[in-house]
Point group: C2
Chain length 341, copies 2
């Protein structure tokens, strides 16, 4: 930006009027003569004048920038959240500054501080897996910078939240497996550090309970990625040959599990039915296609930014705000990996 940007002053000088006249003419102020307006806007267009947002920010004390911190941009869920956020933000004249924590607590703290320094008007955050301490967020809240958490929310902080109905989605998925005749269902679960992981486990447990299927803690294993699933699945099946269904915390894990199941010589879905969670692009690419639970990432993004923008519009103090929670319903997408009947 050290370049040769045109300013209001430049226009004023060339036209022999004052900067304020130019400013007013440009915003169609009623007390400026039509003649002046015409001359000013014409020259502005000719020179390619664009208001300096930085000057505007300094003056208005509003940067019109929203900070976004997500664990990893390469995850389809998060990139669709971004799309939802951007869509609405741009409509409302806000820009979005995106940072990745890469699941690291340290990075998350640095990102938060950087965003604070950049004077973002508000923050949208999905927590890193590592994060246990929330002081960096509390600090922003103290300075009246509103935060909306989404998906991986922060239980310790009283802020607005958007969560996916993980419990309901998991319950429905497991119920579906049971409906397809499964009785011994393996759950490959996520970090119980994260609420979302715990909620999915609870959905799993309650669905079993509801159907009078005894819970076997051995059938809940911690495994939340492709490589581990690929490595572990065959062994688990060897140990528990009666497993007839698998429900995983995300799609990549499901895809790893499917490979493992095939390696163990079992058929999907006849011998073992599989349900993932996320409904990522890959789920249509696998063989068989993968049943999954859609989390409506775009919708999550839209609701999160809406809550934040409403907060900014209302302009209440942090202490006066009553936190809202929006729950986004999931959708079960049944494909070939679980369809038996």
């Amino acid at each position: 930006m050290s370049g040769t940007h045109v300013t209001i002053k430049d226009i004023a000088k060339k036209l022999g009027v004052s900067p304020s006249t130019v400013s007013r003419a440009l915003k169609d102020h009623p007390e400026i003569s039509p003649k002046t307006k015409k001359v000013v806007t014409e020259l502005a267009n000719l020179l390619g004048y664009k208001p300096n947002e930085i000057a505007l920010s300094l003056r208005s004390k509003k940067s019109k920038v929203i900070g976004l911190i997500i664990p990893e941009i390469v995850h389809h869920f998060f990139s669709s959240v971004i799309s939802g956020i951007e869509e609405i933000a741009i409509e409302e004249g806000y820009n979005v500054m995106i940072f990745q924590s890469n699941e690291s607590y340290t990075r998350e703290v640095l990102n938060t501080q950087g965003l604070y320094s950049s004077r973002v008007d508000g923050l949208l955050v999905s927590l890193a897996k590592e994060t246990k301490d929330y002081e960096h967020f509390r600090n922003l809240l103290k300075h009246n910078v509103p935060i909306v958490f989404f998906d991986r929310i922060c239980e310790g902080l009283k802020t607005d939240r958007v969560i996916v109905d993980d419990y309901g989605g998991a319950f429905e998925a497991v119920q579906h497996l049971i409906d397809q005749g499964c009785k011994r269902i393996l759950h490959m679960s996520g970090s119980d550090q994260l609420l979302i992981g715990r909620n999915r486990i609870n959905g799993y447990k309650d669905a079993l309970d509801e159907n009078n299927i005894p819970l076997d803690e051995d059938l809940i294993v911690k495994c939340d990625n492709y490589e581990d699933a690929l490595a572990m699945t065959a062994d688990i099946i060897k140990k528990h040959p009666d497993i007839d269904g698998v429900f995983t915390v995300n799609d990549f894990t499901a895809i790893g599990a499917m490979k493992g199941i095939k390696q163990a010589g079992k058929k999907i879905p006849e011998d073992i039915a599989v349900m993932g969670f996320t409904n990522s692009v890959s789920s249509t690419f696998t063989d068989p296609t993968l049943s999954s639970v859609d989390q409506h990432g775009t919708e999550v993004g839209r609701e999160a930014i809406k809550l934040l923008l409403k907060r900014l519009k209302d302009n209440e103090l942090e202490e006066d705000h009553t936190p809202q929670t929006r729950i986004i319903r999931t959708d079960m997408i049944v494909r070939d990996s679980s369809r038996r009947i």
Copy 2:
């Protein structure tokens, strides 16, 4: 940012010194007494003072923000480019503002203007498929805002560029298919609007030529996505039953083609060998796993931001700059879809 941010003035007032003293103390200026420095920094820490980047930007005429325009964030190649960019940008004290064109020319123009208004120090751009007119970029260059194009570059503009060796990657891929015994190779190609599509076609043609395999224009079809590939492939095979290899412009197309091939009752790779391009995450998930050409997205991002930062450091005028082009070599990843021998 309308919140209660601590300023240098606040600190000055509480300490009964002038703002300039505080400013100097905070940056460890040699002419400030150790005592003052200590008192100032202590209070600054206590109050959680963080410099207002917006004020700094206005004063220094450098926003320390890089604008990034990409077609779609959900594509793995682009999200890995982002990671490469962010990594280096943050190290060098820059923030990145990301916009998606969604392949739309209109969006791209709006994004460019918005980024100009936000006074970004420079721009990283990968063109939308629709874009044929470059006036919006030319306008920034005129105002001395440097642009580095990557992957989908702009041939009409003399700027720095980072390109993937699409020609070489395509050549190698097709040579590999030929080495595996293929003689009738179908190429599902991308938009010939984009240079990258044309380069891949040329790599395909030259590899055939090199191996004295006659070119059959009927075996080059325009098809660059999963759905179309799935819909078209079986028909194409029916029409040309001697096809024994497929090379696609990207992985999603390859995955669609693989499904189509299976539907046509052919075996992969025995009857028809398949090579994709991109080496996306999905390529390990398919059955059989998909051979592909890795484009090193992270590396592309790193080189692009490096070129831009060097440009900003050198601080030459646009007209004095000699454009650089960096070519990122591809890597062929052979998996099961093409391995016959």
